[in-house]
């Protein structure tokens, strides 16, 4: 996968880590869904980030 795509995936991982909690705070998302989205974000971050920075930044 090209580096650019991996970067997008890794950033999406961070977005999914933080944004669901803000939706819970706003009353727009239930707690189990928030936890699930956060886990998906975690997997995306750790799966994409090491390869998106391969060769160093």
């Amino acid at each position: 996968m090209p580096q650019f795509a991996l970067k997008i995936v890794s950033w999406l991982g961070l977005v999914l880590t933080l944004v669901p909690s803000l939706l819970v705070f706003a009353g727009s998302l239930d707690f189990p869904t928030y936890k699930m989205l956060m886990l998906v974000g975690t997997v995306l971050w750790f799966a994409a980030r090491p390869f998106s920075t391969a060769g160093g930044e």
Partner: protein, 467 residues
């Protein structure tokens, strides 16, 4: 084949223990930002934040105490540690050898390495509280000192082994892992706290301050815990990493910095890890106390799991891991400087085993606040000695690096400064009841003063060695 490749990689790890770091190996500011942010968003943050709640800090004392204390810590890194690191580019241990002599440095290194092992051990123990969740592990309580089950020991050994292998691969691997994990960890801390705010009664930002004072940092300590004030928070925030900045342990890390100004990158660790993360973990603990009817169980893993699910538990594991890694690395450097011919990775492996054994004891977590303060206090005097030796000694007619130029293996001035500072601290604590958090500041002046005075007295004219 794979084993031989692994061995080759380990043997090729070059850490410049006894030579200045060459220009080609200097690292960018980004590398230090990741390192500091990762290292100070750690497993201990899940313990320290809750302890402020337990000690009855008010919301105002917490917010302003951390603001000032963390600023003082950043300034200590930037103006005390980093300028010397960028000029000398040597490890703390090699500098001490030149100043104090091999024998005194060996004593210091053993004490230092043991302290680092215990600190890294506490972080591995914190991670174990998260690993134990799926196995329904019996979690330790505030009163536990010994391991309470075989499962606990197994969890600690697994985490200790993985942490040690990564540390064995050297600073580059440690920095890379910390750099990858840091942004995610910070967001998990933040997200976990934000998500539970409605359960504490915060449904809009304007509710926060009222709830913070009424339900989180209430100003009322838990039973059996002493009352903390603004001054406790400020001095703890400043001195909890005293060994690293004022004590100069981070010379070993910042010697890779291109410019001394990279010392300011420590702000990433202070204002994210020691500000946001302490506040976030305090919020999580306040909810746990409410829901558990003020239980004495003290296990960061389940607390994070309650607030953020599997990602929260993973965060506790990784947070402990990213701090334990550089701490084990530092302990390895301390031991290796006694026997420079030993391979870095072999020393790190031995240090990792000692750390893992220590981590089996939950007392390391339960008494963390006291331990962190003690560890900074014990190691701090050598930082004062280095600073005086580097800048002041030549100006008062004495010589820097006296042990090296005189061929002595034991610098009596440094030994006197170290021991008298510790004796003075014990005196203040025992006879005047000064709490351990406040001893570092007067202790620093005692160490600096004694070192200058005794050096002036004992130094003899030295013949410069000729080739």
């Amino acid at each position: 084949m794979a084993q031989s490749k692994f061995q080759q990689q380990l043997d090729s790890v070059e850490e410049f223990e006894r030579t200045p770091v060459p220009e080609s190996h200097l690292k960018s500011a980004g590398s230090f930002l990741g390192m500091y942010a990762g290292e100070h968003t750690a497993g201990t943050e899940f313990v320290i934040g809750p302890l402020f709640v337990a000690h009855g800090v008010t919301a105002g004392d917490l917010v302003f105490g951390l603001l000032v204390g963390n600023l003082l810590a950043v300034l200590s890194w930037a103006f005390l540690t980093a300028p010397i690191a960028a000029k000398a580019r040597m490890t703390l241990y090699y500098m001490l050898e030149k100043i104090c002599g091999a024998k005194l440095t060996a004593v210091y290194n053993i004490v230092n390495a043991l302290m680092f092992c215990f600190l890294a051990g506490s972080m591995i123990a914190v991670s174990a509280t998260a690993v134990g969740i799926p196995f329904d592990l019996t979690m330790p309580t505030l009163n536990d000192w010994l391991p309470n089950s075989l499962g606990w020991i197994v969890a600690v050994v697994i985490i200790g082994a993985v942490t040690t292998v990564i540390a064995m691969l050297g600073y580059t691997q440690v920095a890379r892992f910390a750099g990858i994990a840091a942004p995610w960890m910070i967001l998990v801390f933040l997200a976990a706290a934000v998500s539970v705010l409605p359960e504490l009664g915060v449904t809009s930002i304007s509710d926060f301050w009222g709830v913070a004072n009424a339900k989180i940092w209430t100003g009322v300590p838990l039973e059996g815990q002493g009352k903390f004030t603004f001054w406790h928070v400020m001095f703890f925030a400043w001195f909890c990493n005293m060994a690293m900045h004022i004590g100069m342990a981070d010379l070993s890390i910042l010697r890779y910095a291109r410019k001394w100004q990279y010392g300011f990158t420590s702000a990433a660790g202070m204002y994210v890890g020691h500000y946001l993360a302490w506040i976030a973990s305090g919020i999580l603990y306040a909810l746990f106390l409410m829901e558990s009817n003020y239980s004495t169980e003290f296990a960061p893993g389940p607390v994070a799991f309650r607030a953020a699910g599997i990602a929260g538990a993973l965060c506790v594991i990784v947070a402990g891991w990213t701090t334990a890694n550089p701490t084990i690395y530092r302990a390895g450097l301390a031991i290796q400087s006694i026997r420079p011919q030993w391979k870095t990775w072999k020393v790190t492996m031995i240090v990792g085993i000692i750390t893992t054994l220590a981590a089996c004891f939950p007392a390391l977590v339960m008494k963390l606040l006291d331990f962190v303060a003690l560890y900074g206090l014990i190691l701090m005097p050598m930082g004062a000695i280095i600073l005086m030796d580097f800048y002041v000694l030549p100006k008062i007619g004495a010589r820097s690096n006296y042990a090296e130029i005189s061929g002595k293996s034991f610098n009596i001035a440094a030994a006197a400064a170290w021991l008298l500072t510790l004796a003075f601290s014990i005196f203040l604590n025992h006879w005047f009841g000064v709490e351990i958090f406040f001893l570092g500041l007067p202790g620093w002046f005692v160490a600096a003063g004694v070192y200058l005075a005794v050096s002036r007295l004992v130094q003899k004219p030295v013949q410069t060695k000729t080739a």
